[in-house]
């Protein structure tokens, strides 16, 4: 059915997708936090390293400054002979020793610097020895001797060597500082890239989650709208239906009822909720579970139609109804959709129709009976012998009154056939015997028109299931048409043949045949062809009635092309094939009847 939402498999929410995306995002966040942690530690370490390198450099400068201070103090003592300078010298020297020892500890991990520090200490020791020597010279031999000693340049050479070592050590420290800074910068760039990458990946993840969320929401919205529209439409149909529709749960309880149902049964929908459906009509009489009583096995109803039910209205009245049942499988079991139709109007209409037909039949036929009777008596000379012209005129009036009677009979037959009210008494009959009697009954008419009747059939019985009287009516229609349309001294042949489990009755005349333009119209009401001069009129309903009668027998009737005259064929199923399994019984019954 159109409009029912179809839930495709990929529309189902998938937990794994959400888990994958959420896990990826969480991992991304953890990774980001980890990277930040590592980088923080690393950057702290690098900074400490740079600071230490810088501090070492300052300490190297301090060491060198101590040697400079010692040199300055020596010069001061040599020039002035003031012993206070010797105090400054000793303080500088002691500072050097402490600083050198501390640097020795610091440079334990830098063998190059350690080696240079050792050279520096040797040179400093030599320098201090030179200073001590010059100071002693000043004390013992005076200024000139000391100036001469200093001027020898030993002290300057040592100082220059110390400067050289100092420069090498400072260069090394600078190199270390530069190396640390460069690697930190490179790392910062790499980390920046990594962070951007992670942020982009997380943004993509967030976008994916957003998209998934949007898609889920929009799909559920779409389905909700669809379900809503579907519901509204179904409800409108449900409530607009003329039949009462009741939805019954597997236990026989009423779940829903439409407006027509409320009107039919006289209850408001809420008054019927969960009440047993037997309150409304005996849908499933007897004992046991509702669905069993209803004849519902494996989700299939044995008989989905129920006739001659009575609707019990709330006010105690009953209404004749018919029910049509449908099965609806829901997750909580098989539900029954019962559509109840109020047939009281139809029954009234059928009764009216039957009464009308009966009245028409009586009221039309009664005056015609009088008319035909009176004309017949006149023709018979009841009143007085009639002159020839009067006899002819009375004959015309009588023929036409008879025709009117036939027309009424045919119209009533058509009405009955089309309303399905015509009763057929089907029984096994020998079609040859039935057709032979139809031919015999037509002899009077044929003789009157000087037409020969010929009956052709095999010796074998042709058994069909049929209503003999109605089949004679069909044959009579065909034969009377053939006779009426035949020329004088013509022959009308009725033959019965059998082929492929079907019997065929054909009626062939030697008249002018039928204009192909009339075609199918032949079998419609009053669809008769042109009448040859002298042919008496028919009612124009014979072929229509014949077609309906033949159809009711499961056969068909048609006008066949023929080289000369008109040819009508009626095909009927043979009895032994007409009903599964009853062939022998049919033939046996027929033979028994024949013997009796």
């Amino acid at each position: 059915m159109n409009g029912i939402p179809v839930f495709r498999a990929d529309w189902e929410p998938r937990l794994w997708r959400t888990i994958v995306v959420a896990t990826a995002l969480s991992l991304g966040l953890f990774l980001l936090a980890g990277v930040f942690g590592i980088e923080y530690n690393h950057s702290t370490a690098t900074s400490a390293n740079v600071n230490r390198t810088y501090r070492e450099r300052v300490e190297i400068d301090t060491l060198i400054a101590a040697t400079r201070d010692a040199e300055l103090a020596q010069r001061g003592y040599v020039i002035t002979g003031d012993a206070a300078f010797l105090g400054t010298y000793r303080s500088a020297r002691a500072r050097f020793e402490r600083q050198a020892t501390a640097l020795g500890e610091t440079f334990r991990h830098l063998p190059g610097q350690q080696r240079r520090l050792a050279q520096l200490r040797e040179l400093a020791t030599a320098k201090f020895a030179d200073i001590d020597k010059m100071s002693a010279l000043r004390r013992s031999r005076g200024l000139d001797a000391a100036v001469a000693g200093v001027s020898q340049g030993e002290g300057r050479r040592l100082l220059a060597a110390i400067d050289g070592i100092h420069a090498a050590m400072v260069d090394e420290q600078d190199r270390l500082l530069r190396g640390g800074l460069t690697s930190q910068r490179a790392r910062v760039i790499a980390i920046k890239r990594l962070i951007w990458g992670l942020v982009l990946a997380m943004a993509a993840g967030a976008f994916a989650i957003g998209y998934m969320f949007w898609r889920a929401r929009s799909r559920s919205h779409f389905l909700a709208l669809k379900a809503l529209r579907f519901g509204i439409r179904q409800n409108a149909i449900f409530d607009a239906a003329q039949d009462a529709i009741v939805l019954v749960n597997p236990g026989g309880g009423i779940e829903t009822i439409n407006s027509a149902g409320e009107r039919l049964f006289g209850y408001a929908a809420h008054e019927l909720l969960q009440r047993d459906v037997s309150l409304l009509a005996d849908l499933a009489p007897g004992e046991g579970p509702f669905l069993d009583r209803l004849g519902c096995r494996g989700g299939v109803l044995a008989d989905p139609f129920r006739t001659q039910l009575q609707a019990r209205r709330q006010d105690g009245a009953t209404v004749p109804i018919e029910a049509s049942l449908g099965v609806m499988e829901l997750p909580d079991g098989i539900h029954i959709v019962a559509a109840f139709r109020d047939v009281s109007e139809r029954e009234r209409a059928e009764e009216l129709r039957a009464r009308f037909l009966s009245t028409v039949s009586h009221e039309l036929r009664t005056p015609l009976t009088s008319l035909i009777g009176a004309l017949g008596l006149l023709r018979g000379g009841m009143a007085a012998p009639l002159p020839d012209d009067a006899v002819q005129l009375v004959g015309i009036a009588e023929t036409n009154a008879t025709r009117l009677i036939r027309l009424v009979n045919d119209l009533l037959d058509i009405e009955k056939l089309e309303a399905g009210a015509m009763r057929f008494d089907f029984e096994p009959i020998d079609l040859r015997a039935t057709m032979a009697s139809a031919v015999d009954a037509m002899r009077g008419l044929a003789d009157g028109r000087r037409v020969r009747l010929r009956f052709v059939a095999d010796d074998t019985a042709v058994i069909v299931r049929g209503d003999g009287e109605r089949l004679v009516q069909v044959a009579s229609n065909l034969l009377s048409n053939a006779v009426r349309f035949s020329p004088e001294d013509g022959t009308v042949t009725l033959s019965v043949t059998v082929a492929a489990a079907r019997a065929t009755v054909s009626v062939q005349d030697e008249g002018a045949g039928i204009d192909p333009a009339i075609g199918r119209r032949l079998f419609t009401r009053f669809g008769q062809g042109a009448r040859p001069d002298g042919a008496s009129p028919g009612t124009g309903l014979g072929l229509t009635i014949s077609r309906e009668v033949v159809r009711a027998h499961g056969g068909q009737i048609w006008h066949a092309p023929s080289a000369r005259g008109a040819l009508f064929c009626v095909e009927l199923p043979l009895a032994d094939r007409a009903g599964a399994g009853d062939g022998d019984a049919v033939i046996a019954a027929f033979e028994q009847r024949g013997a009796a």
Binding site: R365, T369, G373, A374, G376, A401, I405
Partner: protein, 126 residues
């Protein structure tokens, strides 16, 4: 042979009367209703050998009259033919169930009606 014909239609009564009287051996009496027919029989001066009864009559219908006849002493076995325009197979079966001995269909040929009635009557007795 005495024949009682009951029909509410005066024209048809007249025609049937004329048609039957074409045969001088038939003694025909006509009644316009079931009640009139019963009254005639009650008089007891004239008892029919055969009754022809129209089926569809206002008031007492043909079948009502038949029941009334069958309920009377001395008339249980009176041969009765229904005269009717409704003579389909179903109808005929129903009439025979009511207890009629046969049916004559309207319209009939007035010139052969007497002959038909005599033949049917002979058939019933034979």
């Amino acid at each position: 042979m005495k024949i009682l014909y009951v029909d509410d239609e005066a024209d048809i009564r007249t025609i049937v009367g004329m048609a039957l009287r074409l045969d001088p051996r038939l003694d025909v009496k006509l009644a316009p209703s079931g009640t009139a027919a019963l009254r005639l029989l009650d008089e007891g001066e004239w008892m029919p050998d055969l009754a022809l009864i129209d089926m569809m009559m206002p008031g007492m219908s043909g079948s009502d009259l038949l029941s009334a006849l069958r309920a009377r002493g001395g008339l249980e076995a009176l041969p009765v033919l229904f005269v009717t325009a409704s003579a389909g197979e179903d109808d005929v079966r129903a009439y025979l169930r009511f207890g009629a001995n046969g049916v004559i269909t309207k319209p009939f040929d007035p010139l052969t009606l007497a002959e038909t009635v005599r033949t049917r009557f002979a058939g019933m007795r034979g």
